[in-house]
Amino acid sequence: MSKGNNNSKINKIKLFMTIAAIILAFITLYIANNNLDSYKIRILNLAAVYAVCGLGLNIINGFTGLFSLGHAGFMMIGAYTAALVTMPPDVKTMNFYIEPIIAPLAHLQLPIPVALLLAGSIAALFSLIIAVPVLRLKGDYLAIASLGFAEMLRVLFTMAGSITNGALGLKGIPGIESIYFYWGTAIVAIVIIKQLINSSYGHAFKAIRDDEIAAQAMGINLFYHKTLSFATGAFFAGVGGAMMGFLVTTIDPNIGIFLQTFNILMIIVLGGLGSLTGTVISAVLVTSALELLRFVDAPIDFGFFAYPGIPGMRMVIFSLSLLLVIIFYQRGLMGMREFNWDWVIKKYNQFTNRSGKGGKGHGAVKNG
């Protein structure tokens, strides 16, 4: 009869199933790795990068209701941090031929996992500085102020030659091609974010999103929780940015342009603001779609009609189709729902009736 027992039993089942799912995911990666060519794997890797960045933005926008447009700025910080601490000293010397790199960075070379953590942490640190002025604002004001900070950062990165090599950017970042690295990192990110969202803190985020005034009346410290959400989102943007650097091996301040934020915003809107699984699915779909659309840029001969190929057409189609999604299909693929074990358990509980109420972990079922 004890609710507690029932609860922990169900939690154990959930844990078991989650582990099973992760194993399944790695088997899928194994199959993908052995059957796809390097081009397709690269696209999948890019999808993992976008998934991590998207998850970060979804914490801020989708779960806490803070309309931040500064994500690309945090990605840029992450990308540069990871690049600067992993590039071999001689490559750095070759890069910084106009203005030499400052001493502490010149010989620093850290392992990749440390670089990822550092990239996330520095991005989060920057977000804390920005949080003080930006998070006092609401709605559109927050949006434009965070966009402003991202643009300022980009100008700063272009000017700070002895750290960032200015507009020339960094070339020769150690490249990583392994699908296990990108999706492994993505899976770790998904698990951490899922845990956060389903925790008491995640609930506080959602309360702030739904009604700030009521949330505050429930004793939730708005500034603390908004900052927590903002910094966590920035952390994953930083990690995502670092991954991007390892994938493309060349970065410059243009990695922080608004278009980048827009791409990620589109991914999370398409997947559903407030849905983690939606973001991941959407990241894969959007990245693949962008690649598939490449054909419209290239010439095609239909025999009776030769299509000359219009460079840039792909982005026109892409922005138009996303516009259509926003206008006609606002809630995105998943809305606020998740595809998760709670769904399975909910079905199970319909048989066992009221005993099921104890079975609800604080990981909420989204009935939406």
Partner: protein, 297 residues
């Protein structure tokens, strides 16, 4: 720095500021009515500039006709954008409309890349605007004077339209209280279109003058002026036409003076607007002339 050179900088500042003001008014009017940052507004600058170029270069129209056509077409484009991308979302959360606005902006930019390629095109320079005038041994291009004059004429015209005409009164009513106005029998859709038409028309005039001032036109030309003018509107107090005008002049003059007095900061010129924005948002979130709003609990 001699006094003469200072005057020259001031003239430049006023000229740039009045351009900002003209474009900022469109932002502020749309925000006043729909509470929407119209991200596509800046791209109308680009639309107007390209139409003007094609009118003169391809169709060999006289410049004044081409400019007029550019303003008319851009106005229509502005109204169509509202009808197609914002109106269906009027009852949706504001985040959706904002995303839609960003979507329109990217669509216009990408379309322009396809239609006109990314290569910059020179903007025609009719003689009227490029004559050098000598004032006190200082040479200033006639355009530097023409821009503020056009802006002032437009402001007077706008003031008349908003304060003295029925449509203008309806517009102010809608800005004050959207719901009540619709209950009072004001045709909201008409008024919203009217607002977009006015705002887009002004952006088009701003775009043409932008082209005359910075005669290299490429598809992304509207992005930075767009952002800066929105900032000018916020700095002045968004929702207020006077505020947008003050904000525009302030931003333009400060930007030119920053570069003139502290040349070492030239590289940070584009970041300056954002610094100003953040300072204003911290100390006076509703702008210079905006009133404090308290949320009803």
């Amino acid at each position: 720095m001699t006094f003469n050179i200072f005057l020259q900088h001031l003239a430049n500042g006023i000229s740039l500021g009045s351009l900002y003001a003209l474009i900022a008014i469109g932002y502020t009017m749309v925000y006043g009515i729909l509470r929407l940052i119209n991200f596509a507004h800046g791209d109308l600058i680009m639309v107007a500039a390209y139409i003007a170029i094609y009118g003169i270069m391809m169709f060999k129209l006289p410049w004044w006709l081409s400019f007029t056509l550019a303003v008319i077409v851009t106005t229509i484009v502005g109204v169509i954008i509202e009808r197609a991308a914002y109106k269906p979302l009027r009852s949706s959360p504001r985040i959706s409309v904002l995303i839609s606005a960003i979507g329109v902006s990217f669509f216009l930019e990408n379309l322009a890349i396809v239609l006109f390629t990314g290569r910059p095109k020179p903007f025609p320079q009719p003689e009227l605007f490029t004559t050098m005038l000598e004032v006190n041994n200082v040479y200033i291009m006639s355009l530097t004077f023409i821009i503020p004059v056009v802006t002032i004429v437009m402001l007077i015209l706008l003031n008349y339209l908003v304060n003295k005409t029925t449509a203008g009164m309806a517009m102010r009513a809608v800005a004050k209280d959207f719901e009540t106005s619709s209950l009072m029998g004001i045709e909201i859709n008409k008024i919203v279109s009217y607002t977009f038409a006015l705002g887009s028309g002004l952006a088009a005039i701003g775009g043409i003058m932008w082209g005359l001032k910075f005669p290299q036109i490429q598809p992304l030309i509207g992005v930075f002026p767009g952002l800066k003018c929105f900032i000018a509107a916020v700095v002045g107090g968004i929702g207020s036409i006077t505020g947008a005008t003050i904000g525009g002049f302030l931003l333009g003059i400060m930007e030119i003076m920053l570069v003139a007095f502290l040349p070492s900061l030239t590289g940070y010129r584009d970041a300056f607007a954002f610094v100003l924005l953040i300072v204003i948002l911290i100390f006076r979130p509703t702008g210079i002339i905006g009133e404090k709003i308290t949320e009803k609990v």
